[in-house]
Symmetry: D2
Subunit: 284 residues, 4 copies
């Protein structure tokens, strides 16, 4: 497939959805030149949303992280996280009780925002009927903030005791922590627990359509946008491109992250996930 | 869980989504009394949509089938099929070329409606470069209309030759054909092909959110409905209830189809899929 | 990995296990020069066994096929098929009743040899309690000899009616039928049925250890051979090499079949299945 | 299925294979009366082997544990652990280099016995080419002896750097730690790592045939036993009974562990794994 220029391509669309990791930033920080790209999109009056499978931080905290990395001018409504879908689920489906979770205090912000009480699994007494009774949902939020051995096992035993809605707020298997290394994400941990307790949890985040639908609905509160008006930009075939394609958006694969120039053809062929366009990055 | 009356429950909602098989009809035909239930909903001015994982017939043909079974007054816009999502995908993502498919001529109606040419896999010459080049998408539509041995194998070899979008228009594994017997659905056949060619296809239909989203969007063209205003009614935990829950709807499991009174508790416990309400049927 | 010469390597072993398809023959027939290789092994007094995931023909019929292809001098005891493991299972575990099957009359030879009666699923009357009661095991034997639509569905409904041992006599997903084309094998079909009825069947054939154990035991009836004395030769990483490695044999991957010279390194790296040696073929 | 008496049944066999947990012991310790059962088998001159999916302790240490629980007279050769299969693999396939592992120092005994050097993953420097080069196999041994977060992630990154044989010495998902609670076993942890690095590891332990074959071969060093001479006794359908059936042994399911009297029929029906006999326990 011939490579295109992001700057030329984007002008044909009325809005853009952009993946965060591998497009805007990488393990070293902000990708050089990304501020220019964002400024360019704004100058063309093309609204955008950053779609990220991240439930470890609230929208506000995400903005702060981008600011610290050097990206200026992002607004809260321009960030869509998979944690927001988990929050919406709680708001719509859980009317009372507490929500137990695996994650940091920071990530529990999404529970707080839903108006429900949150309790880390570490604070639940599995031998107290009252403690068990009080909890009405369980949330996988972040891979940090708990002792893996102690509290993953405790989660397993909690879920063996009580049948309740279990939500995974980030479906990613792992995330990069350096040029060569990764860390298992809460989505990966939740797969282990699913396998042990033999149940299927509710997962939010790309490639699931609900993430795109949420961003689409949010965008349409600010104007009128059809699916064909929107370009989805991402670096990962199995999340950004698969999800974008299925939702009916035109998709652009960039080679500044997970997918490398020398193996892109092989990966497209073996996966059967085909982007509409390919570009080196969003930098030109 | 205590059982509720559908008639009492539905009055608390502004709209209803209803599964077809196991709620409105079963292997013997229309469930006795369903006409009264539909009339009751209408008398309460509660709009409804029938959501069915069926791509073997168009909306219009579905209406005709219900009419033949004895259910009167259904309107075309009240039927949402997973085939319509496949059609939408073709409209949004496939701009040229032909669409090859497994299914009946009837089911190919969805391709026709998208404005694209359709060709059954039986008519494709795998040794003709032109034939292969001309095809820009593949669609699994129905389990009938082809020779399983000959044309499932031909599909495998076609997909080994060409990398293109593959869409499954009905994700069900099987469907009932009598009190005790089932038949493998096109969703099941597509799993076999996925397994053989080692790729992931794009699947439409419950429990996937996109089906609910489509019905939700269609409904909102006729008024203003929030997710909390809608009740999803179905007989199957893994499709109707799981999908309804995830989308954020209140869910009612009825025991007139796949899920039986004597095993419902066991099934809920072992699956972890919990409906908000349970009723014997929609008949009272 | 450096390539070795099969002729030089084999001299270091007291016995050889050889895969059939991709090593001795391919879609065009016998691989040119294979007669010399077999003669060479014999001249070195190295006994061998041909291990094949094939339950469509008995040992005797397999010999005949090789003879027809032009390979002379193979003896019955030199052929080990996965069908023989199915036969052994029947002999050891099924003491009475009939065995129903999917496959050709030819493949049913394995049931006949076990001393049990065989009945094709096409001849079973699902509405006859007697017919159902009479059957004490079900066997997946061959992808031919039945109507896929009719009899795969009939198998599903039979297995929904009766809980009994189900055996898959060939675990391969597919087999090559020409340079570019494959056909779904009975192992693939059995996966579809497993998926529909949600059970795990008993599977025989490489890479499962039991196939290697059977060949090992047969070989040791003719002398004394330790695992370290035996070289396993095959063209497929996921069956021949994985199974040979796990059983504790030294393994030689040949590039005359499924695995090609230009992608062998990639395949080894992505699968994590590592042969001890690599050679172009067994021809030199 | 009618229940039988173990004492009456066992007299029809020349040897017995016995699962450990759920048959001989449970979370409270030795099951009351088991000493009598063992004494009874011995008095009938029926040799037995205890088959356990446990790689956390050597044969010798296992004997000591049974002694501490109060079971007297077990001999080292009467214990077969899945760790012994991992050791055999190392002996046959790994000729040089060190073996890295996840587990306790105790469990590494199996590596020591193979004559190879062992190194816990915690001591490997991922940035040292020499460290990486020195390691020729990786072993999952025990769920204890390491920091889950730190060292499971380190294992993932090690396996991303180096392609080498990976062995799981205990394929169990979890093990009971009290009447109601379980702990994730190293077999479960290895599944998480497999899922993250997208490779298939080599797994030892029931239900895999190789475990039964090993016990069978060991037994046959002391006499002549055919498969039909041996009874497999276990409390778990998916390991003891499935594995015993497939290997061709007669199988006895006991209800003193994982499988309970009130759900045994349901479990047999839904799994399709059918024991030849059922008994309450081995106590009478």
């Amino acid at each position: 497939m011939e490579k295109v220029s992001f700057y030329s391509l984007v002008k044909n669309f009325k809005a853009v959805f952009i993946d965060s990791y591998g497009v805007l930033k990488n393990h070293e920080g902000l990708i050089d030149g990304v501020q220019d790209s964002i400024d360019y999109i704004r100058s063309q009056n093309i609204p955008f949303r950053v779609l990220t499978n991240d439930a470890s931080r609230s929208q506000e905290q995400q903005i702060q992280v981008f600011k610290n990395l050097g990206l200026k001018g992002l607004r809260e409504e321009e960030i869509i996280t998979s944690g927001m879908l988990a929050r919406q689920f709680l708001e719509l489906k859980i009317t009372s009780g507490k929500v137990a979770y695996l994650g940091t205090e920071n990530s529990a912000e999404y529970i707080l925002q839903s108006g429900l009480e949150h309790v880390p699994i570490s604070d639940v007494d599995l031998n107290s009927m009252k403690d068990i009774d009080d909890i009405s949902a369980f949330l996988f939020l972040d891979d940090e903030g708990f002792d893996w051995n102690l509290h993953i096992n405790k989660t397993v035993n909690f879920l063996r005791r009580k049948n309740l809605p279990v939500i995974v707020a980030n479906s990613d298997k792992y995330y990069p922590v350096s040029k060569s290394d990764v860390a298992i994400a809460i989505g990966g941990i939740s797969r282990l627990v699913e396998y042990i307790v033999d149940q299927k949890f509710i997962r939010f985040g790309k490639p699931d359509s609900q993430m795109f639908m949420y961003a689409f609905d949010e965008l349409n509160k600010t104007g009128t946008f059809a699916k064909e008006d929107i370009l989805m930009v991402g670096d990962t075939l199995s999340t950004d491109i698969l999800g974008g394609n299925k939702f009916g958006l035109k998709t652009l694969l960039v080679l500044s992250g997970n997918t490398r120039s020398d193996t892109v053809d092989l990966k497209i062929n073996s996966s059967g996930i085909i982007p509409d366009y390919i570009a080196d990055s969003i930098l030109s």
